[in-house]
Symmetry: C2
Subunit: 244 residues, 2 copies
């Protein structure tokens, strides 16, 4: 794993790269000033486990930079990723002291943290905060349900195609241009991490990548950079609605 230092270093909320997408997005200047005083930044190196399933987590946080994964594991080691934390995503459950999944930094991660108890109090006094968290949680729920369709009913090939489509969409969302035509995607995940996300084995993931490559749906630049010549064709391979 590479270890570039986070580009954004602790600063004012006004300068924050996730200011308009994170849990604080709807807050006004006065509310932001309060948050500014309570926040602390924490960084985690790539590969580090931020919290174990079942363990207490005494803070809640927004991801400022980097990528982290949420996963659950059965006793015999089978693991399933249940969520992906990208910049602006929120970690932690107000009102609950423990997390039910393991949180792991995939890249170096910078988080904007609040101690749990004071944050819960703020939720009750700042309606903007609660409403934004509700909105974000509803988004997460919708994503989780789409993922259930993928896990339960899609073939290995469709799963891989869906993952690529979804990554392209999330990346494009930051730039406000929906993906079309030729698209490039940066995989921040290993084959094993993708397997855990998709409910497959890493061998199957690898085979499906070569399958998609042989069929001309993708080209590979190294192992982590994917070039999609025709995004619409990939969408069809993913069995996705053009919308969503």
């Amino acid at each position: 794993m590479s270890h570039p230092a986070p580009l954004f270093t602790a600063g004012r909320c006004g300068d924050c790269p996730i200011r308009h997408r994170a849990v604080c997005a709807q807050c006004d200047d006065g509310e932001l000033a309060v948050l500014d005083k309570l926040k602390t930044y924490r960084s985690f190196p790539a590969g580090q486990t931020i919290a174990w399933a079942g363990d207490p987590l005494d803070f809640v946080a927004s991801v400022v930079t980097g990528v982290a994964i949420l996963s659950r594991t059965l006793e015999d080691g089978r693991t399933q990723m249940v969520g992906l934390l990208l910049p602006s995503d929120f970690l932690g459950r107000p009102g609950h002291a423990t997390v039910t999944y393991t949180v792991t930094a995939v890249t170096d991660v910078l988080m904007c943290c609040f101690r749990r108890q004071p944050f819960e109090a703020l939720l009750h006094t700042m309606p903007h905060l609660a409403m934004q968290l509700l909105e974000m949680t509803l988004d997460d729920l919708q994503s989780a349900r789409e993922w259930m369709l993928l896990l339960g009913r899609k073939t290995a090939r469709e799963k891989i195609a869906s993952l690529l489509v979804s990554l392209a969409r999330r990346e494009a969302a930051l730039r406000l241009n929906p993906p079309e035509g030729r698209v490039e995607i940066d995989l921040m995940l290993t084959r094993e991490a993708m397997a855990d996300y998709l409910g497959l084995t890493l061998e199957t993931v690898s085979r499906q990548f070569t399958g998609l490559r042989q069929d001309g749906l993708i080209r590979l630049n190294g192992t982590r950079r994917v070039i999609v010549p025709d995004f619409a064709r990939l969408q069809r391979a993913a069995q996705e609605d053009a919308a969503a």
Copy 2:
């Protein structure tokens, strides 16, 4: 399907069977009076589709009695259930005019409905409403993530056992006694509905039921009533933590 008339007929919020678990649970008497004036009851017969995926839904609602399912379908007909609505569960997404899944009544269903726009306004003026909805959505998200582990990583046998455990838990939760020892479970679902929930085919569901029966983990009374002689053993077959 049987068509018993709903036992609860339109009445005051104070008499409502889901008063203390639904989205209105945290509301005080004054707030409840407001809701009381805006609410309307609607009932749906067993088997009826309440809303199609992608269609506009002009109301939000709480399930008062009955069971409904949320499902998504691929173009070729493969379908995956993505949620189960039991009494007190909430339907609809404030801020969004359409639903992304199909909603179908499994039994006769009675719903306590609010027109969407006025309800969204209430959300901003009644913090108790928003907080309860947030709490319920976080619960749904957690359930969805547990389901992702099941769909992605569990075997057919473990899936069936997990479903039975989960149904026993939800039933027991209403009576505040955690399931243990001998337990009986009423399946309100057909084999096909279970298959759609678990990401299996109905034949596999049927085979696993006979497998569990032959191994003495369950006994069947008719096709819809399951007797579990030893709940802890079923939990182990489901690869579940005793907790949760």
